[in-house]
Amino acid sequence: MLEGLLLGLSTAFTFTNILLVIGGCLIGTFIGMLPGLGPMSIIAIMIPIAITIGDAASALILLSGVYYGAVFGGSTSSILINAPGVASTVATSFDGYPLTRQGKAGKALTVAAISSFAGGTIGAILLLIFAPALASVALLFHSAEYFALMVVGLSAIAAFAGTGQVSKALLMTMLGLIMATVGEGVLFNSARFTMGITDLQSGFGFVTIAMAMFALPEAIYLILDPNRSKAADGGENSEIKELRITRAEAKSITPVIARQSLQGFFIGVLPGAGATIASFLGYAVERNIAPKDEQDQFGKGSIKGVAAPESANNAACTGSFVPLLTLGIPGSGTTAILLGALIALNVSPGPRLMVDEPQIFWAVIISMYLGNLVLLMLNLPLIPYIAKVLAAPRNFLIPFILFFTLMGAYIGQNNATELLLLVGFGVCATILRFADYPLAPLLIGFILGPLLENNFARAMQLYDGVSFVWERPMTLGLLVVAAILIILPSYRARRARIRAQGVADGD
């Protein structure tokens, strides 16, 4: 491990790479604050830029910097104007925004930055411990197990979608997989499902799909509802003054941060759970175990209420790198986009990554420490200036968000058809959002599609049919787990409903 760390240090600590982390964090924070552009969209926009760098380690360092910056930027806008850019920072606004209204915005931001730093750093240490162990187990996997493992990952994402949403999430996953089969496959050189359109020969661009699923619907929502990006009461108190926190405050949030970093990390490792669930759960747990007098403070401006979701969501972000780097399976929309970026850079994530290209793995881990440090040392003092972007008038902001979305799709492909596809899919995604269909499963399915099919096809070829399902116990076991994951939530919901009906009848 020490060897790997040194390798990572030597890769990450070059002048260019340090500059990339700093630049990435700044850009991420800056754009992450804007309503409508969450980490997923920002990373998608940055991918063509990262690819031009050429070196995979540097590109990934830049993208992870952007990721941390964007998460931090999202927290900033939830604290300052009660407009969380992403779902994972919604819990931060519960107490962060009340603090701002009491004139303590600086304090809230400092607590958020320290908690994020601690959460991210503790997460990175855990990643350091768990990833190599998991990867060595995963090295025993064959294509049949990989196929099964991906099925488990996709089922878990659907299972976490919530009651009454499982079939919708699964359908979206299927749709994503179906969209991935359009164009020439890696295994078969014939074009499929292109309907005779030559521009579809190489399939849909994943940046295009990512933009269409997230950036565009959010921008359309912003246009539809002018109040969406504004604070409830104008947010006049949002001036940032005192950034310092007292010793007593630091003491009171330390155990919160420690607990939530651990809990957040392990939730982040699970596919589908991710930073949003980690932050809400972290907030709920801390409120429940707080002493009575502090419990009443939650929701009215408790610093513990800022520290809990912030440390949890950053630790979860780091945790979500575990399945990505060791198994090549993304557990969230953001890591799915990172997986797409890795594939575009000719890196195949998975257990072999640590053996074949250890410098990439370790450089990413080192860049996580660096990124967290940059956020704490550089972004925090700069926040009062960066936050000026929040004052940008909506009339200018929205056309710019739309323009960046278009550019993100165009630069990668240099093809105007891609823009039409982006707008078409974006409108469809907005309608899907109206009807409560979750969109992350679609993107994850789309990105995992080719990998899933390749492993499926390889296993079929090796076993001359589907017999691998029952001939390999591990494959069978994993597929059973996948089935349980899908059936369990609907079974429990049904049982709860029957019980509720029974009570009603008995009355």
């Binding site: 179906i178 499929r192 246009i223 509802d225 323009f403 039409l420 109206f434 009807a435 919901a493």
Partner: protein, 163 residues
């Protein structure tokens, strides 16, 4: 029928067409040598289409009951009229126009027009500010993408550069 079930119905139709192609149209084009392989280009799509059709049917028939959600304050198709749907349609139209005009008009002109018309559609009337901001943005981003990143973007209209 609620919107989500209508959507599932449309997805069902798409999946039926997809499944039909996978089961009946694709395999005829396969060279005989590939037919000996246990896995065909259509194998995976066949599995997918069955799964997707089943799932779409579950939603269309309403087999999975969703708990009643409080939807106040959320945008749905039925309360869309309270929102600025006209502006949204105009901006979507502008994006389509941008996609179609990017090549013929060149990056600078089409971006400038998109930003100016976009902010105009949203109700901005400070014309000088609009023009200055859009011009700086179009020029600055072109410089960044073209010179710094080295990705070619045709700056000027097609007819001015001779194609």
């Amino acid at each position: 029928m609620a919107l989500d079930r209508w959507i599932a119905f449309i997805i069902l139709l798409i999946c039926l067409a997809y499944g039909y192609t996978a089961y009946f149209a694709m395999d005829d084009l396969l060279p005989p040598i590939l037919k000996r392989s246990p896995v065909w280009p259509s194998s995976f799509p066949k599995v997918l289409s069955v799964g997707a059709i089943a799932l779409a049917l579950i939603i269309v028939l309403g087999l999975e009951k969703a708990p009643e959600k409080d939807k106040t304050g959320e945008i749905t198709l039925s309360n869309l009229k309270q929102y600025n749907y006209g502006q949204a349609l105009i901006l979507i139209g502008l994006m389509i126009a941008y996609a179609l005009l990017l090549r013929p008009l060149g990056f600078l002109a089409s971006t400038f027009l998109f930003l100016v018309l976009g902010s105009f559609a949203l109700g901005e009337r400070r014309y000088v500010v609009m023009a200055v901001v859009s011009a700086i943005a179009a020029g600055g981003i072109w410089y960044l993408v073209d010179s710094v990143l080295g990705i070619f973007l045709r700056p000027l209209p097609l007819m001015m550069t001779g194609g």
